[in-house]
Symmetry: C2
Subunit: 223 residues, 2 copies
């Protein structure tokens, strides 16, 4: 399995969406983890539901709406200052510790690397820049131009067309199992980063490999 290019999901795969817990905790002590989880859950649900409803709005809007919902649901008072502060956190999410070195090694092997994300450019571009990862990626691709979210096949098709490659030449890497399997359904070879030892989603597909972290990917690809 020697993909000509590797395409990475961003949120949850390269960047830790739950890095917002500390800031949540500072506003609402004792509720940071619960808030972060509900925020993420609604954020994802609404990407799927809005896509099916054909009522796309950019990920930044979905993310903001989901934060408001999560605070309301948990009874946490949430003013403009808290919303803005937490939306800013999304522009500087921590990278998982094994990510920077893994990207250097994967790039050194001569492969083109790209990001394919639900994130609108107002969210993903500042984040990649802030974390010093711009030089790693030949392309940072967003679903925003398509106005539909993962795992719609046209999203994965965007990566193939923009990289000028056939689906079978692309390796896709995501920690979101449904995203990995959506990419597999489209025709990519996929590696699922399963940091939490979750079961495989039963969506009719299996990945080429399941890894505990991105640090294991260079070895998996060399095998």
């Amino acid at each position: 399995m020697k993909p000509a290019a590797l395409v990475f999901d961003a949120y949850g795969t390269l960047f830790d969406v739950h890095a917002v817990v500390a800031r949540c905790e500072s506003f609402w002590p004792g509720h940071g983890t619960q808030l972060s989880q509900l925020w993420r859950t609604k954020q994802l649900e609404w990407t799927w539901q809005r896509s099916l409803m054909r009522r796309y709005v950019p990920f930044s809007q979905v993310t903001r709406d989901a934060l408001g919902y999560a605070c309301e649901s948990l009874g946490l008072p949430c003013g403009d200052a808290q919303v803005e502060a937490l939306m800013q956190e999304y522009l500087r999410l921590a990278v998982y510790p094994d990510v920077p070195d893994a990207l250097v090694r994967l790039q050194a092997d001569g492969r083109r690397l790209a990001i394919l994300t639900n994130g609108s450019s107002d969210m993903i571009e500042p984040l990649v820049a802030h974390r010093g990862l711009k030089a790693r990626f030949a392309a940072v691709l967003s679903v925003d131009s398509l106005a539909v979210y993962k795992p719609a096949p046209e999203v994965y098709g965007l990566a193939a067309s923009r990289l000028g490659l056939r689906a079978t030449e692309i390796g896709f890497v995501s920690s979101n199992c449904w995203d990995a399997l959506g990419a597999k359904s489209f025709g990519f070879s996929v590696w699922w980063i399963n940091r939490g030892s979750a079961p495989l989603d039963r969506l009719g597909f299996t990945p080429e490999g399941t890894l505990r972290g991105l640090g294991d990917l260079p070895e998996a690809l060399a095998a």
Copy 2:
């Protein structure tokens, strides 16, 4: 607001999907509620994801897969006997206590009533019959013929075309907020049955009314 017909969601609206808790509890004491919740969560997520992937399988298959996943995720040993027993439970889910009388009253007002459900006919038909509700409904409509799940607009369009009514003539009733808002996005008048006092999903639409139970619907429609 005087709809010519009322269309009801089934699972969670008329029938209590968490009626399976007792049976779950009998197999895995102490885990019934947690299992039922995760089972339902994955069941819904996969309807959205499979629809976007264009990899539809019938709801009975999604439900069976989600049960297997939920058991695996929680570390609960689940053999064929348990799976079959719990799938049987789905064919005789309890109705919410205020449902039978509300349906009689709504029908007595001269309206046509129908069900529009994700459930495949092998699931919904035995359930409606078992609960003695067949005579209430002029039609029991399933997404199965469309091979896409709610909240895709074509699902709500099926109800309009099969009832021979314009969208604006139809009142839609669901306890699943995203389903109510998907129907609203399509053009129905909608009533959200919010039994758990949840916040409104932020999907860009608001229902005509939000009720604590189906028993409040006849009065809301008369207002």
